[in-house]
């Protein structure tokens, strides 16, 4: 059996303020779509940064394609895995096309000039995310939704096998959320792109992600198909408030009971 594309083996990580991840094991096979959910402070974003190699675990190992991630060069990792942060900054007025071309650094390095192939990849990424018309526009002039799609185009221009997303749609309206997740789902189906995403919105996770990992206080509370993880008892206990689920038109909806 092939090694998982990315895996964490009993990893621990503490911030100066206290432990965040306390012995998590997690693996995603190539072609999987996994949502990581849990309350604030459960260690979701920290786990994502351990998996992407940005943070080094205090204990335990993180492996990418079966090899310790710290033994890869930075550009080696970036050729395989992209990361879409919750908030992106772009300090200088690059155009949308220039921004996406920066993703080719993983393949070009500091010196090599972009070839026709690089430009094709960038053009395709802009096309997929629907920002091709904005290619020559400075990113400083984009709306929130356009900007987030431009940043997604940049991630796709890395030609990753794996993409990490940290609440990528937290500040986007519903139509953009649907657009972005439909796009990722399409890439997952067509090209086998592996997606590991951190969420607050449990309903989005249930709608788009076949597999859900529920974290609580730095540990894995449940891991499996959305149907088995989103159980009223478990959710209510983990979130510390009464949470109900209902199935409407074949989809599971999760909502808190209102407190009076």
């Amino acid at each position: 059996m092939a090694a998982p594309l990315v895996e964490a083996l009993d990893v621990y990580f503490s911030w100066p303020t206290g432990p965040a991840v306390k012995g998590v094991s997690f693996a995603a096979a190539a072609g999987e779509m996994v949502a990581i959910v849990g309350p604030n402070g459960a260690g979701k974003s920290t786990l994502l940064r351990l998996l992407s190699g940005y943070l080094k675990p205090d204990r335990g190992d993180v492996r990418l394609a079966g090899r310790d991630i710290s033994r890869y060069g930075r550009r080696d990792v970036a050729r395989r895995a992209a990361f879409l942060p919750q908030y992106s900054e772009v300090n200088l007025p690059y155009t949308v096309a220039e921004l996406a071309m920066l993703a080719r650094y993983a393949r070009l390095g500091p010196i090599k000039r972009p070839t026709g192939h690089d430009r094709d990849v960038v053009a395709e990424a802009l096309e997929l995310t629907g920002v091709a018309d904005l290619a020559a526009r400075p990113v400083s002039q984009l709306s929130g939704g356009e900007f987030q799609r431009a940043v997604l185009a940049r991630a796709l221009a890395q030609e990753p096998a794996l993409i990490f997303l940290d609440e990528p749609t937290a500040h986007l309206d519903v139509s953009y959320q649907v657009q972005i997740f439909s796009l990722l789902k399409g890439l997952n189906g067509r090209e086998g792109l592996t997606v590991v995403a951190v969420f607050h919105d449990l309903n989005m996770a249930a709608a788009y992600f076949p597999r859900v990992v529920l974290l609580a206080e730095g540990k894995v509370e449940a891991d499996g198909v959305a149907e088995s993880v989103f159980v009223e008892d478990t959710l209510s206990r983990v979130y510390g408030c009464v949470i109900k689920t209902r199935t409407v038109e074949g989809r599971k909806f999760i909502f808190p009971e209102l407190q009076h």
């Binding site: 940005y54 970036a78 650094y105 500091p110 010196i111």
Partner: protein, 338 residues
């Protein structure tokens, strides 16, 4: 012809014009005779002793101006990207104050000697400048990570500390020494202390550091996305920061040691050129090198010619660059085009 190409052509022509004008203007040898002498010199011919001396003095000074301009403009551009702060200039890490303290110390102690062709003032200024940068690095680096925010704050504090040391020295020494230190702090290319050997050595350091910065142009582009995104796009961020800050500091320290802290070149040139060249660092760094060299050379030519013409003491070129640079910067800011 697009705007970017036009800018490069204009900058190149401007630089050539100011170099040519600088070489042939001034007392001692008329323009036509100077031009013939320069051509003959570059053709490898031998000049008569008196003509040779005049031309060598002018070209040395021009060479120093070019080194200063290239180093400050490229260092400023790189620091603005790496520290992600539009106010960053080559002196933000305390280099000017550190160098100033070194120079003040060498001056008031009347230190002779030095290293090879360099005087004690050069050597101590260089050492002081690098000490200030290292102090900032030590404070801002923890657990293998250099925090650029901490580095900025540390740089300002280290600068303030060395500035008070300069004032302390000034407070206790005779007025004659005060004046010498004061002139040095303004940044000056008129000093007879600037020799061809020193300029050649400084130019080598500046070309080396500038070359490395040009090779780092694409990583500098990535830094505008923030360190975490740059990391995820494949940049070894910590190694990159050490390399780019090291090159910027070394280039800056070497020109400060040569000519004192000439102000405003490092902040005005990148901002002015970013508006026409755009934010990508390969063309921007190249344009900044040409533009910085041209600005300092123009400034030096102007202060030199006005001093000759009106028969007044020469104004240090650092005063000129700040006098022109600050209002220009304010004008850009007003148009919000930076």
């Amino acid at each position: 012809m697009n705007r970017k190409v036009a800018t490069f052509v204009a900058l190149g022509c401007g630089l050539f014009a100011v170099c040519a004008a600088s070489a042939v203007m001034g007392p001692g040898l008329g323009p036509a005779a100077s031009a013939r002498a320069v051509v003959k010199l570059f053709a490898g011919g031998v000049l008569p002793a008196d003509g040779y001396a005049v031309i060598v003095v002018r070209l040395t000074r021009l060479g120093a101006a070019l080194c200063v301009g290239v180093a400050l403009a490229m260092a400023g551009t790189s620091l603005q990207a790496t520290l992600r702060n539009p106010l960053a200039d080559p002196y933000i890490l305390g280099i000017a104050a550190g160098g100033g303290f070194g120079a003040a110390l060498a001056t008031v102690l009347g230190l002779g000697g030095g290293v090879a062709a360099f005087s004690a003032v050069n050597v101590l200024a260089f050492a002081g400048a690098l000490t200030a940068v290292m102090a900032g690095f030590v404070v801002a680096r923890a657990a293998g990570i250099l925090s650029v925010h901490a580095l900025l704050l540390a740089g300002v504090m280290v600068g303030a500390f060395f500035t008070s040391l300069i004032l302390l020295v000034m407070a206790v020494v005779p007025a004659r020494d005060q004046h010498a230190v004061f002139l040095w702090l303004m940044g000056d290319l008129a000093s007879p202390d600037i020799t061809p050997v020193k300029v050649g050595f400084t130019a080598a350091v500046v070309v080396l550091c500038g070359g490395v910065l040009l090779l780092l142009a694409r990583p500098l582009d990535l830094m505008a996305l923030g360190e975490e995104s740059a990391f995820h796009l494949g940049l070894s961020v910590e190694k990159f920061k050490i390399l780019v800050l090291g090159c910027a500091a070394l280039a800056t320290a070497s020109v400060v040691a040569l000519a004192g802290p000439i102000g405003f070149v490092g902040i005005v040139v990148p901002h002015a050129l970013r508006r026409v060249i755009g934010p990508r660092h390969l063309p921007l760094l190249a344009a900044a090198a040409i533009g910085g060299a041209a600005l300092v050379a123009v400034g030096d030519a102007l202060v030199r010619v006005t001093a000759d013409y009106f028969d007044i003491p020469i104004v240090p070129v650092g005063v000129f660059t700040a006098l022109v640079g600050a209002p220009y910067f304010l004008a850009i800011l007003r148009k919000k085009g930076y």
